[in-house]
Structure formats: structure tokens, C-alpha cells
Symmetry: C2
Subunit: 296 residues, 2 copies
């Protein structure tokens, strides 16, 4: 655990910055649950800081997570593009954020950046993965555009490819609809500026989502808007538990359950064959989710 | 589609009986959504009757499903014990029930029976699978005992084995806890009385669960009981989406989504590292779920 000293310091800084930013918006401090875990039986060990807002004012449920772990055998799921590194000793440090705002007009937002170092026989491999994506229950085009602008600003050259990868990854195949309006998603970035790019993604996310949540946190809403929000959060739960590689891998491999499931919505609901009324804001949102769009 | 005429008629009768029973308890009729599906591209076709109670009085969400389908290639997941039949033409007719009562002291209940017929080169194979299991948020020992008595009465000789299989199947590995207090679960029953056993399971479930829900539907409760119910329903959602073979297979293989997800709770919630107070009814329930018990 000493290949990623610079990355650890930088990502701890990002963790603090995002916690501060979203805590300021909510008006309440995140509760920090620091943890340590000793590697046993070929598993992984490390430490982390899980920061949570639960049943809060603006952010009904929010998690800003830092973790730094090392293990003796890289899981195959962690390295789709470098299968020859599966099973090698590895180290990974990352920050992830999920915010479920209370107001139905404020979108759910997610960001993750993680820096890998893997020791193979011949050399030390390093790469960065991550992304940011936005999941509105009620689509506002301006928000989607602002979010994508922030994503492109963080990685201008890679944006077109990473935007497409995001649309592909956050696809609920069983519903034939996207989780949200996308953003960027990347698995395996090895540029010399990899850490700077990860930090730019994290900061860009914080600024863009901060502005969007501030803009909607006091929008007036009714019970029917809340109902639709809970149905859409049911979809979010479906994506995380059925399709998300990180979540399903974590659940099936003795990960830290409370951190893995910190991404789940505070409340969700399911209805039989629910369809929004034709022409409604709900129907327009759903139509866009069924056909991912070029926002820029 | 003509190998299971007797089974179809018997299970349509069971479907009607259960719908009537639970509709009487609720005071409202189930809404029936009949469907037909034509086989395309090596998929499956058939028909079904999806009966739903949504946001209702006693049963907050309930589904009583009948389906009868045929396909050209039996999915491997459908026949763990007969791998040589995977890929053969098959027919299956079944009934399943999931009830999520509104009162937190009334348990969630699930039952499924299905009759298979598979054409292999040498002969026609038939078997029956299914089970019944109970998921209380608040454990009442008497209810668990009554439910297990009903399960044993439906299949006295097989009960000891099927009870164990149920505890094994409905295990949330990532939580190290059972979904509920079990019941029976069987994959591959070929007795000469297979259809009668399936019907006995269905009827026994209807009677036992009817009595249990009637006993608790008017229990007084407070907001804190509802909170715990929603957290436990989150676990139910986790089981269905992460571990249930029928659900995950259906979602990943172009099944009929609305029928597959009719088992989901009407509402569910997630909290970070939630633990019930020591000595509470909630804590006692959770302790029993962590160590499945012999109820009879």
C-alpha cells in the first residue's frame, strides 16, 4: 500500500471538498463513519471514510465515500480491458458520490473516480476509471446540458467516447431505458494527466450538481410528483442491484455492504404496469430516457 | 402446448381460489390483466392472467399470477437437476402469489407452483417445482409455526428436506440473514402425486396466510413500525433483484417484466448501517433471521 500516496492525498482532498459543498447546500454536516479492514484469506484490506446524510433537508439521502484498499488478487470484473492482470496484487483508491435530493424536481446524481495500481511481473500498471451521470425524475433540458458541459470541460478530448460509454453502461436492458441522461463513463484511462482528469471530474461534478440542486431544492411540488419520484427511484434500485458491475460484484464477493449499498435510494416504490399520462412532464422525461440524446 | 391440459385446468382453479380468498380479506377485487404472447426467434409464447391489488386496504400490494408458456429451448436455469434437458422443447404452467400486507405486523408471503413437461428424444419428462415461504417484519412465533404446519401438511414426507432447501434458497448471502422464516422449497418433484402436491401447497398457503393476515390486519401500529417494515422490504427487494433465480433469469432473458416484478414491494427504504435497539421486537426478529430455526 504505497504506490498511490499522491493519489490518496489528492482524493482525500476531493472527498473533503465534495462533503463540504453538499453539506453547505443541505445546511447539515455529513456524518463521517471511518472504517478500517484487515485483509484475511486472500481478501482485501484498507481504510475508508463513509460520509452520510440521512433523511436530511435538501439531500434526502447522500453518500460521499473515500476508500483505499489493497488485495492480493485483482478481481476480473475490475479490469475488463486488461484480463492478463486479473489475479495480480493491486491497490485502488477512490471517491464516489450518490445524492438523492428530496425535491422531485432535483435530480439524483452520481460520480466515481478510482486510481488503480497493479503489480505484474514485468512492471507496475496504473490507470484511472470513473465517471459522472445524472438521473432526473423530471427532465429539464438546461440541467442536462449544464451537466454535460461540466463533463466535457473535465475531459474535452475524451468526452465524445466517454459520453457514449456512459449511455451504454447505464442502460436498463430489461426496461429498454436509460437510468438517466448520462454524462461520462470510463474504465481504463492511462493518460499522463490521469489523476488531474479524475480530480477535474470530481470538481466539475461538485460544481454542476451543486448548482442544479440549488436551483430546484425549493421548487413547489405535490404528492403526485413524489409518487413519480419514488417509482423512478425503484428503477434506480433495479439498475444498481441487477446491472451495476460494482454493486453486484461487491455483494457477491464479501465487500463492505454498507458502503456498497450507500448508493441505494432512501425510499423507492413499484407499481404494476405504470405509465405516465400522454403529454405530461413525466412522459416527456421517459421518452428521452428511452432514446439517449446528444446534449451538446 | 398440449402436454399439460389437466395441470392447466387445475392451476387455473387454484389461481381463482387464491384470488378470491385474498380479495375477500382485502375487501376489494383483484384487477385481472390477461395477456398473450407469441413466440418469436426461439423465445417462448403462451398466455397468462396477472391479478393485482395495488395500494389497497389490507394488502398494500398483492399479485396472484397464472401463466402457461411453451418454448423451443429449456433455459439451463430452469433445470439444475436435469442438465441434459437444457435446450429441449418445453412447456410450463404455474401459479405464483406475493402479498405485501399494509400492516407491519402482517407478514409478506410468497408461494409458487409450476408443472414442467419437456420433450427429449427418448421420452416426455414431467416434474413439479415450487414452494411457500413467509417473511415477517415482526416475528410472531405462532404464525411461523402455523405456516410450517401448513407446509408440512401439504407434503408430509418431503417436508424435512424441502424445509432445509427453503432456508438455503432464501438466504441473503451479502447480509448473512434469511429473507424470512422459511417454509418449503422444491425444484424437481416427480412423485405420482406431483400435481396433487402442488395443489395442496397452494391451498395450504391460501388458508394459512389468510388466517395470519386476518389476525394482524387491524393491529395498531406507529410510524416507527412502518419505518422498520420499509427497511425490511428493502431486504426483500435486494433478495429478488440480486439472488432470486427466477427474477434475475427473467430480467436477463426478455421475460414479461411486469409479471416478473409484480413480486416487488410497493414501497421500500434503505438506511446506512441501521441496527434495531437491543431487546426490541425488531432485534429479536433479526436474530431469528440470522439463524434459521426448526419450527416444528
Amino acid at each position: 500500500m504505497n504506490g498511490l500516496i499522491r493519489e490518496r492525498e489528492a482524493l482525500l482532498g476531493l472527498h473533503g471538498r465534495l462533503m463540504q459543498r453538499f453539506g453547505d447546500i443541505d445546511g447539515n454536516d455529513f456524518v463521517i463513519d471511518p472504517w478500517q479492514r484487515t485483509a484475511v484469506d486472500g481478501g482485501f484490506g484498507g481504510d475508508g471514510r463513509t460520509a452520510i446524510l440521512e433523511d436530511s433537508v435538501v439531500i434526502e439521502r447522500g453518500a460521499v465515500l473515500f476508500s483505499h484498499i489493497a488485495g492480493t488478487a485483482l478481481p476480473p470484473a475490475a479490469t475488463l480491458h486488461r484480463p492478463h492482470l486479473a489475479g495480480r496484487p493491486y491497490e485502488v483508491v477512490g471517491v464516489s458520490v450518490v445524492l438523492h435530493p428530496r425535491n422531485p424536481f432535483a435530480p439524483t446524481a452520481h460520480m466515481n473516480v478510482r486510481c488503480f495500481a497493479v503489480n505484474a511481473e514485468d512492471q507496475l500498471y496504473r490507470w484511472v476509471g470513473g465517471g459522472m451521470d445524472l438521473t432526473p425524475c423530471y427532465l429539464f433540458d438546461d440541467d442536462a446540458v449544464a451537466f454535460h458541459r461540466a463533463a466535457r470541460a473535465a475531459a474535452p478530448a475524451e468526452y465524445p467516447t466517454w459520453k457514449q460509454q456512459c449511455d451504454q453502461y447505464f442502460w436498463l436492458k430489461h426496461r429498454q431505458e436509460a437510468r438517466g441522461v448520462g454524462g461520462i463513463f470510463f474504465d481504463d484511462y492511462v493518460g499522463v494527466d490521469a489523476l488531474d482528469t479524475a480530480l477535474a471530474v470530481g470538481r466539475g461534478f461538485g460544481d454542476a450538481v451543486g448548482n442544479i440542486v440549488m436551483a430546484h431544492k425549493d421548487d413547489p411540488y405535490e404528492a403526485s410528483h413524489r409518487d413519480w419520484q419514488l417509482i423512478r427511484r425503484g428503477r434506480y434500485a433495479e439498475f444498481n442491484l441487477v446491472w451495476d458491475r460494482g454493486t453486484t460484484f461487491g455483494l457477491q464477493s464479501n465487500g463492505r455492504i454498507e458502503s456498497i449499498l450507500a448508493s441505494m435510494p432512501p425510499q423507492a416504490s413499484w407499481r404494476y404496469a405504470h405509465e405516465p399520462n400522454a403529454g405530461s412532464h413525466e412522459a416527456r422525461t421517459l421518452a428521452v430516457l428511452k432514446t439517449p440524446r446528444a446534449w451538446l
